[in-house]
């Protein structure tokens, strides 16, 4: 792990935070969160030695002192602001009414990293579907980062009004300069809302990422998310669904293709709070070269979450002998009245009996490996329920990465 560009005194100080807020002309909501963030900058960093979700992270990677406060942030959402029933706006222009909900899902005080995120927040985007709005076309949000040695803090606040439908595809890209990115995504699903959120992590070779994504559901809402990781030195995603509304559901899908020395790390929480809630999770990694995947996930079923239905699955396919996967799904169940709670985890190379079976139908060994790997990764894509055009776009990203890793034809 390369360390931060400089070991001099941190540039990420409360003064720098205040200066950034003044330069950006924060509105009330952002200003309040920025102040709280600045006040929490002295919190301890997560400890790989003590904090289970951080166990496999190189402690040196957590030190962001040498990074500079965010420069300009680029976010593009095409013509999405003109769609009826939909509001897409940077935090600078967004209505204060909607921004009042900012920070409700990803809290400032979670860790030093979330404190940093809010203290240096820049490039926030609100995506709001009004009540009963059915946004047919997926909304595309593209973010690109190029500042060498810089910290970036993109924030996406998704507010889905009652009975609305919204699909958002957020794409992250960065150059190959050293960079640290602390993205936060808040998904607030109103009663009966159906939200689909996809993040494409196409980070540059020396970007380290600590992402926070949290969905909070109101009654009978459904939130589905997909994370696709095809690049980045270290991409650590914390994905939480808090099922607070009765009859609500969450589906969390993730897939990564690792090459080189890349480290992909998922920490997930399926938090069943209300009655009759349902959650599903499938995260898959295909790992070449010396890459590494870490999965730690918690299914929590609270005392009040009667008749919860939860499934949690993590699968890892090792494409080289030097690749590595650590998988640890955990259940924490406090009620006896559950419909189903299941979990599973596997890590290993391509199965020889599967290879024999496919080869017996005429495909070469290389072709059979290729088919198995693509099938393996195709499952979360299929289950994400995305429209065919986007599904194909994602498959193409996976394909490009697989070719780079040298995984079959």
């Amino acid at each position: 792990m390369t360390s931060a560009p400089s070991t001099a005194a941190s540039m990420l100080t409360p003064e720098a935070s205040r200066a950034l807020g003044e330069a950006l002309g924060d509105g009330a909501s952002v200003a309040g969160l920025r102040t709280s963030g600045a006040a929490a900058l002295d919190r301890a960093l997560p400890s790989p030695a003590l904090d289970r979700p951080w166990k496999y992270v190189d402690p040196a990677a957590l030190n962001l002192d040498g990074f500079a406060p965010p420069d300009a942030a680029s976010a593009d959402w095409g013509g999405a602001q003109d769609i009826e029933g939909l509001e897409v706006a940077g935090f600078e222009e967004a209505p204060e009414g909607a921004l009042a909900r900012l920070g409700g899902a990803v809290a400032v005080e979670d860790s030093r990293l979330t404190a940093l995120h809010y203290a240096f927040l820049q490039g926030g985007v609100l995506v709001e579907a009004k009540a009963n709005a059915e946004i047919a076309e997926p909304v595309r949000l593209t973010r690109e980062f190029t500042a060498a040695g810089g910290l970036a803090t993109p924030h996406t606040l998704v507010v889905a009004g009652p009975n609305s439908r919204l699909t958002l595809i957020e794409e992250y890209r960065s150059s190959d300069e050293p960079m640290a990115v602390l993205p936060a995504v808040e998904l607030l699903a109103g009663p009966g809302a159906v939200v689909s959120y996809t993040s494409l992590h196409r980070w540059g070779a020396r970007t380290r990422v600590f992402a926070e994504q949290r969905a909070v559901t109101e009654p009978n809402s459904d939130v589905r998310s997909l994370s696709l990781v095809t690049g980045g030195r270290l991409v650590k995603s914390h994905i939480t669904s808090s099922l607070e509304g009765r009859g609500s559901s969450s589906e969390i899908y993730g897939l990564s293709v690792g090459g080189g020395d890349e480290h992909t790390d998922f920490y997930t929480v399926q938090d069943h709070v209300a009655e009759d809630t349902r959650s599903d999770l499938l995260i898959k990694s295909a790992l070449g070269d010396r890459s590494r995947a870490v999965y730690y996930g918690l299914t929590k079923v609270g005392l009040g979450a009667r008749r919860a239905d939860a499934n949690q699955e993590n699968r890892n396919l090792l494409l080289s002998r030097t690749a590595k996967a650590d998988s640890d799904p955990v259940l924490e169940i406090l009620t006896n009245d559950v419909t189903r709670v299941s979990h599973g985890a596997t890590a290993g190379p391509v199965d020889e009996e599967e290879l024999f079976y496919i080869q017996s139908r005429g495909l070469t060994r290389e072709g059979a490996v290729g088919l198995l790997v693509r099938g393996f990764l195709g499952e979360p894509l299929d289950r994400s329920g995305l429209a065919e055009g986007i599904r194909n776009e994602l498959s193409a990203l996976v394909e490009t990465k697989l070719q780079a890793v040298g995984a079959g034809a």
């Binding site: 080869q359 139908r361 070469t364 060994r365 072709g367 059979a368």
Partner: protein, 252 residues
């Protein structure tokens, strides 16, 4: 019987996990012939099927297998398939994420050595599905993933139908099938069989042979064929069991 043999197995010996299972097996199959190999548990039935298809877990330690006059030794499973050999698996493997239609298309292209145009492929697929009484939804499901026993065997027959091999080996295709499913599968196999093709049925029970009629029946015990005969041998087995034949064979 003057036609060149499809499959010639000559004093074949094979090991799995260091144990010798096949102990000198001889068999010749010519075009248009249906052979049945019957044997009790542990006699080497599945070892024969896997060895013929080139499963790397099975090691040939002696003898030879020739297919269309060419020695199979050292040939990878995919080369054998492209030569026209097919094995219907007793336990087909589930391949989540790969749909039946996608898999079949890749297999057909590989075996035929050319890209079959999509329209032509689909037409042929639907026709074969109809023949095997397989629902069209089947094509979009992941291969063998969550399939019932009967569905797995039908999927195997669908692959057989699409790949049109010269020689098909059916390993315990009747296991796990109820009588209706067995009849459907057997009708399909009978419809696919032709005078240029050879068929080898590997089975424990005589049941399958009521629906697919072999001209030749062989009894496999302890890794070699101890008796060969016509269809009447299957009936004899059904009546008196493997023990009687084994006893007779060991005193002969």
């Amino acid at each position: 019987m003057t036609e060149a043999p499809l499959l010639e197995i000559d004093a074949l010996r094979a090991n799995v996990a260091g144990n010798e299972i096949l102990t000198g097996l001889n068999l010749t199959v010519r075009p248009g012939e249906v052979h049945a190999i019957m044997g009790p548990n542990g006699s080497g039935k599945s070892t024969l099927a896997n060895t013929l298809m080139g499963n790397p877990r099975y090691e040939v330690t002696g003898g030879e297998v020739r297919f269309l006059g060419e020695a199979l030794d050292g040939m990878a499973p995919d080369e054998r398939a492209r030569q026209g050999l097919f094995l219907a698996f007793q336990y087909p493997v589930a391949v989540p994420g790969v749909t039946v239609v996608n898999f079949l298309r890749q297999a057909v292209n590989a075996v035929r050595g050319e890209e079959v145009p999509v329209r032509e492929f689909r037409q042929e697929l639907f026709q074969k599905m109809e023949l095997l009484k397989v629902d069209r939804d089947f094509a979009r499901r992941y291969l063998n993933d969550g399939f019932s026993g009967g569905e797995k065997k039908r999927a195997e027959m669908l692959q057989l139908a699409m790949l049109q091999p010269r020689m098909a080996v059916l390993d315990e295709t009747d296991s796990g099938l109820d009588i209706d499913a067995l009849r459907t599968v057997a009708d399909g196999v009978n419809a696919l069989m032709n005078e240029n093709m050879g068929l080898l049925l590997i089975t424990h029970y005589q049941r399958l042979l009521n629906y697919i009629k072999p001209q030749f029946v062989h009894v496999l015990i302890d890794g070699r064929i101890v008796r060969s005969g016509g269809p009447e041998l299957a009936e004899e087995l059904e009546a008196s069991g493997y023990d009687a034949i084994e006893a007779a064979a060991s005193t002969a």
